[in-house]
Every structure is written in C-alpha cells, then in structure tokens.
Symmetry: C2
Subunit: 440 residues, 2 copies
C-alpha cells in the first residue's frame, strides 16, 4: 500500500435517512421518497463534499406494508439519471437485480446512463433474495441461492460482451464516402448459455467508462466468489473491526486467486454515524432515533430475513434455537448470518436485536464525537479492514451534512480524502482503468 | 367537434433527422445519437415552440449493420429522463416494447419518470416486430403477431393495476402516531394470467398523471383493436388524405365500440416536411436529401420489412409478385401493407419505392412552402383525418427550426395551435383527464 493510498467515500442515500424511524423526526420530510427536490439537495451536498459517488439500494417489491415506514422508492437508474443532470462529477451507483432483468435491456440502460452522465454510472449487482420480489415476477418461491448466482455470472459475461461490441474505432462518419461505421468493428456476440441466448451487438456505442463500475454487496460464499470474478467495488456490512479485517483479507485473496489485481477491488463497509459534540450528546442522538422505532416494524423485517413469521419470535427472549439451527436459507444468507453472529456474540434478546438493526439493518453503527468517527474510519482504513466507507446517515440530509462539516475536515487534515475531484468519471475517482475491449 | 378544438403537435426526434441520409448533410452532427447536447438543444427548441411532446421511436436491437446509417440510440426512457431535467413543460413519450419487458419493472420505470418529470411521461407501446430484436431475447423466430398483442393486452391490464395500487390517500405520514400509510389503501393486485403472475403492489406511489399517457402506433387489425381498448394517442402513417381519413373514422368507431369516448383518442399521423420559400426551393431541398441516399441501405431495410433478402428485389422492377401474394407477415404488418399500397397505387419500381421511403420510412412526405405545409395540416385536421401531427423533420435541428419559424406562425394565426402552455402535464396538453383509480 503506497503513501498515496486514498480513502473512498460513498453517500449511501435512503429516503429521510437510514434509520427506520427517520421519517418521524421533527425536521424530516416524510414524503422524501418521491420528492425529486430532496434527492437533488442530497446529490449536490455529496458532490460539494467530493464524495466518490451516490449509492442507492433497491429491490423490485414493496418493503413491508407501508404502515410503519415509507415502503417504496423511485426506480434507482431513473432517479440517478435525473440526478446526473443536477451534478457534474459525482458517481452514480444503482442497485439492479440480475435475477429479474434481461441482459440486453439492462446492459443498454446502464450504457445509456454512462453516456448521459459523462462516465459516472455504477451497477450494484444483486440477485434479489426476497419472496416479495419473486412474487412480482411469476415465482411462488425464492429462486435458489446458487442458481441466482449462476445466472448473475452468465448475465455479467453477456453484459460485458455487449458493452464491448462496438470497438472504439467503429464509427468512421465519412460523410463524403457515405460510410458511417466499419461493420467489421461492430460485433455480434452470439451468446448461447444456460440462462440467456443473445445475438447482439448492443445498439449503444461503448460507453465512456467502457462499462459501468461493477459493484457487489453479497457476502455469502457464492457472493464472495462472484465478487472475486467480477466486482470492482464491494459494499459490505461488519459490526467489528476483526470481522471487517477478516472479510477484507478473504476477498482480496479470492480476487488474487481469480487472477485479478486485489487493488482493483475497493472494499467499502457501511457505517451509520451518530455524531455529537460529546459522547453523551452522540448517545442522546442515537437514543432519540431508538425511541421513535416501532418494534412491530423491526419484528416483521426480522421475520422476513429468516423467512418465517413474526410470531416465531418472543421480544424478551434470545433468537429461537430453531432459527439458530436452521440450514442455509435460499434468500439473504449473509444478512441472516450477520444477525445471528451479532445476537450470539452479544447475547441479545430479540428486543435488543431490533434496536441494533434499526439504524442500518445490520451495518456498523458508531456513536461518538467527530474525532472518534474519523479515528475509527482511519483505523479501519489504515489497518486493512476497508478501502473506504459507505456513509449511511441515520437522517438525511442532516446526518450527511454533519458528517461533511465535522468529520471530513479531520480526514482531510490527515491527507486521507481528496480536496477536489481529480478525474471526471467514477472509475477515475476510484483509480480504476477503463477495461480492455475483448474484441480488440 | 367544438370551436375550441386545438391541434396537437409532437416533435418526433431521431438522430440527425428522419431522412436516412441526414447524417451526411454538411451541417449535420453525425455523432448526434450519443451526444446529449444535441438532444437538449432539440428538446428546448420544441419546448420553446410549445409542442405537446417529444417522441422517440425505439427497438431493442441494432438497426442495420451501421455501414450506411447510425445504427443505435440511447435507451429512450433514460434519454427522456435526462431531458426532463433540461425542460419543464413538454411531454416525453418513449417507445418501449411490451414483448421484451416485464410489467412490474416497466410500470415502475414509467411511474418513476412521471414522478421526476412532474407528470410528463408517455409510453408508446410496441410489440416489437423484428427478427433482430427477437434474437436478443433468446428467440430464434419473431413471436407471432396475435400472440404479441395478447401479451400486450395483459401487460396493460397488469400495468394499470400496478399504477392504481396506491390510492391517492394512502400516505398519512402521521409522525406522532407512527403511522406512515394506511395499508388498506395500498393494494396487492394478485394478477394471475396467461403471460404474467404479479402480486404487487407497485413500490412507487401513484404517479402525477395516474398513469403515463398511453400511445400506440401499430395499424394492423390487432393493433387497431388494441388501440381502441387502451390507447389515448395513436401515431400512424398515411400518405394520402383519403387513407388518413379512413383510418381516423375507423379508429374512432372502434374506440366507441370498445365503450370509450372517441375524443379520448388523439390521432396523430406523421408528416415529413421539406420546406422551401418557393415550391422549387422545397423540391431542391428534397432532392438534396435524395441524392445523399445510399440505395443499398434502403434495399436492406425493405428486405427486413418483408422478412426476405435484398436479392429478392430488382431495383428497376416493381415489387416481385411473390411479395405481393404473400399472406400476412408475423412482423410489421401495417408497415408492409403501407409499402405495398404505395407501390401498387403509384406503379413504382423498387428504386422509386426506396426514394419514397428514404425520408420517413413510409410516413407522409410533403414538399412545399410554409403556407402549403400549414394548409395541408389544416385540411387534414379540419377535415377529420387527424387531431394533430407528429412532426418528423428530415434534418435535425434545422428542419424543426424551420417548421417552428415558418409554419407555426401560420397555424397560430388561424387559432389552431397554442401560444403558451395552459397546463403542466402531458395529459393536460392533450386535454385528457387523470384516469380513475380502479381501487377507489
């Protein structure tokens, strides 16, 4: 690791904040989800602070019933396309499912977003673990975990071939000769695989970044192997330094074993910072959020992760033995493992678990002063547990503004974070090259 | 038809122009397709002239080989989302296939575009007639015509239910009580049909227009029946007043027979205007385009429409008898019928047919002075052959600018076209209401 190693920071945006009760805060806009002005404000705030990118999570289904929390959101590639016109430099990473899309359509959309944003598109590839999502696409059960990742792998191979299908010298545009493009440089891909048959070529010129930055967020064994083959950035959830460092070593080793440069994979844990000018103020802030939580909501979410009913849990008991003893789920393997690990390590009741999950759905919550937040980020970064962080403000925009005003100056003082953008594309912010074209 | 009946005008945009050789003109930007600046210029030009909407055609496949004409384009909903942020009033109509998309994903994207544009989204529903498109989605042959329309009909029923799935009063956002939404007003749709099984609800709040303006462009029997059930605007191609008037009467009668108000369906033929200050100048302009045409390109396109090879045609002979005698195609029925009708009526050779199709792929080409263009538009509108037009400038932006500068003032002088926008949504420009919610 060279002296120039720089921290990467993404603004992970979510409605009125990551805390599940954020919409109830006095200053919150509870209609933030469908209010473009809210998103433009957040995008410009993050760009003014020179964040690497905006990131939006997603799934093609309603979240819960809507009773206790905003249950929907704008389709993320659409929202980020709109935000691309309100910003000029910040990267734009959308979560899109490889299970419920077709590679031709999605490769084309991502290439189009990369064109209209001037090379700022990123794709967080998810395989969609939920039963609610499956039911919107004709499936009565969640498709099996390994099968989803097999499809995702083939999806990526098809998408990369499509993005490469126009060579950079393909368009000649010789008006006098009447030759628009060299057809020998626009390639059919003629893919025939287990999941997809796609002739190509793509009907979009190769985008500025070659292809969008490829991001992955699953931490199951299948997920990590997939990441080692394809991911250029990894979003991950760890509640302790040790766990994060183990993951970091593991993923870098798997990447090397897959024949890729480990420095070409940027590992970004999430952090939910509750920031106060004193530790006591920070704890009071966190408590204010926790007091607004509706336990019934958390219980339903917990039941969904474990593919069971809320009645399977007793609030003042630990996780039921039947849950702990279950074999791997077909849905959210890494999320369910993370919750079990937390519950066992800290010997928590279900009520306590719900409190711990309320802020960031299992992500690392940190309560402290700006110096403490900056110190922890620095420790993880320097120690080899992270290449940067997904900043998950519990309330938006206020929590992001506080992080920018109070924590970023400390990180900049240490020379860890950029003062200005040096490049103009997302790949340039990450220090990653435009991929070679397989047809050259 | 009341005294207040107003003409509707859409700016049908296509790369450097609708004429297939437009990219070769001295002033053309041959890289227009992927140059966002080009599209923003066109969008602002059309909005400054108070056009009802922008319209983009599309298909999920490359057009030709690229040798003779720009073969690709940005995905239209992505492009229109970007343009929504450079404009504030003009409608935004994207062509998207019901054959190669899933209703949950597409309903969500369209609702999202409607949200971020403030109620300006329109969907031109196509069933995708081409073999090249089929080959990008695992199909070795074009899916049959009737089957595509049956799928489209079910697709629309699912999409409308999803758009309706949030009642307008669903979100309560009662912070104190911790009640976000009334779950009794966010509805599952539980659709189970021949093509789709979709649980719902949509994860996007009902959009400003209720649902996007629904547009249809196929003129086959299946297409017209589909339009009578679902379409609120119809894009159509007719080369004579008589044909257009026949179609107009037919579609209004079918709409009434389907139990809908015929005035709720806006019929918009395409027109490709070659405008000169004298008839002679206009003819010279049209000739300038025709001289740049590459016959080999047109021949390949003609062969594709008739699902055959270019070698099936002889340039200086009429259409082969074998083509005229063929039964209905599975692909582009209305386009192939239109070409046959033109060729037979005017006793054209293949070479002459290619010249007639070069400007607008079969749409009505009109060569004349601004007064003549305005007169023809007025005649079709007043006589009952059109409720307005899709303006298909042979070169862009120049042909659109000429139409705006020279033809629009004449139409405004007759009181036929708006001076200013009166509404802010696309439905308001068309004088169409927000549809009732089926769950109310």
């Amino acid at each position: 690791m060279s002296a120039q190693r720089r921290l990467h920071l993404n603004a992970f945006l979510m409605e009125a904040g990551h805390h599940e009760a954020s919409w109830r805060l006095p200053d919150s806009n509870p209609r933030a989800d469908f209010d473009l002005g809210h998103w433009i404000e957040l995008a410009r705030l993050a760009e003014s602070a020179k964040f690497d990118s905006l990131f939006l999570a997603d799934g093609p289904a309603i979240t819960g019933t809507g009773e206790f929390r905003p249950p929907g959101q704008l389709e993320p590639l659409t929202l980020l396309t709109a935000l691309s016109q309100a910003t000029s430099r910040i990267g734009l990473i959308a979560t899109v499912s490889s299970t419920y899309n077709e590679p031709y359509n999605l490769a084309r959309r991502l290439a189009s977003v990369d064109h209209v944003s001037g090379g700022r598109a990123g794709w967080n590839i998810v395989t969609s673990a939920g039963a609610e999502e499956a039911a919107n696409f004709g499936l009565d059960t969640i498709p099996d975990h390994a099968g989803r990742y097999a499809r995702a792998d083939e999806f990526l191979r098809v998408a990369k071939a499509l993005w490469d299908s126009w060579e950079s010298q393909a368009v000649v545009a010789d008006k006098a000769a009447g030759l628009y493009a060299d057809p020998g440089r626009i390639h059919r891909i003629d893919h025939r695989g287990a999941h997809f048959t796609v002739a190509g070529p793509l009907n979009v010129e190769r985008p500025p970044q070659g292809y969008p930055l490829l991001v992955q967020a699953g931490s199951s064994e299948d997920g990590k192997d997939f990441a080692a083959r394809h991911a250029e950035a990894i979003f991950t959830a760890h509640r302790t330094y040790e766990r994060a460092a183990d993951f970091y070593r593991d993923i870098k080793a798997r990447t090397a074993a897959a024949g890729r440069d480990p420095d070409g994979v940027i590992v970004l844990p999430g952090i939910v910072p509750y920031i106060g000018s004193t530790e006591r103020e920070a704890r009071e802030l966190a408590q204010q959020f926790d007091d607004l939580r509706i336990p019934e909501y958390g219980l339903r979410q917990l039941a969904a992760v474990f593919e069971t009913e809320p009645s399977a849990f007793a609030l003042d008991e630990p996780l039921p033995a039947a849950i702990l003893a279950r074999p791997k789920l077909e849905g959210s393997q890494s999320r369910s493992d993370l919750i079990i690990e937390l519950a066992v390590r800290e010997q928590l009741t279900v009520r306590q678990i719900l409190s711990r999950l309320g802020g960031g759905r299992g992500h690392f919550e940190f309560v402290g002063t700006p110096e403490q937040v900056a110190g922890t980020i620095t420790d993880w970064f320097v120690g080899g547990a992270a290449d940067g962080f997904n900043i998950m403000a519990p309330a938006l925009p206020s929590g992001l503004a506080t992080f920018i005003e109070q924590v970023l100056p400390i990180l900049r003082g240490k020379g860890l974070f950029r003062e200005e953008y040096e490049g103009s594309t997302l790949r340039e912010h990450y220090g990653l090259p435009v991929p070679a074209n397989q047809f050259h």
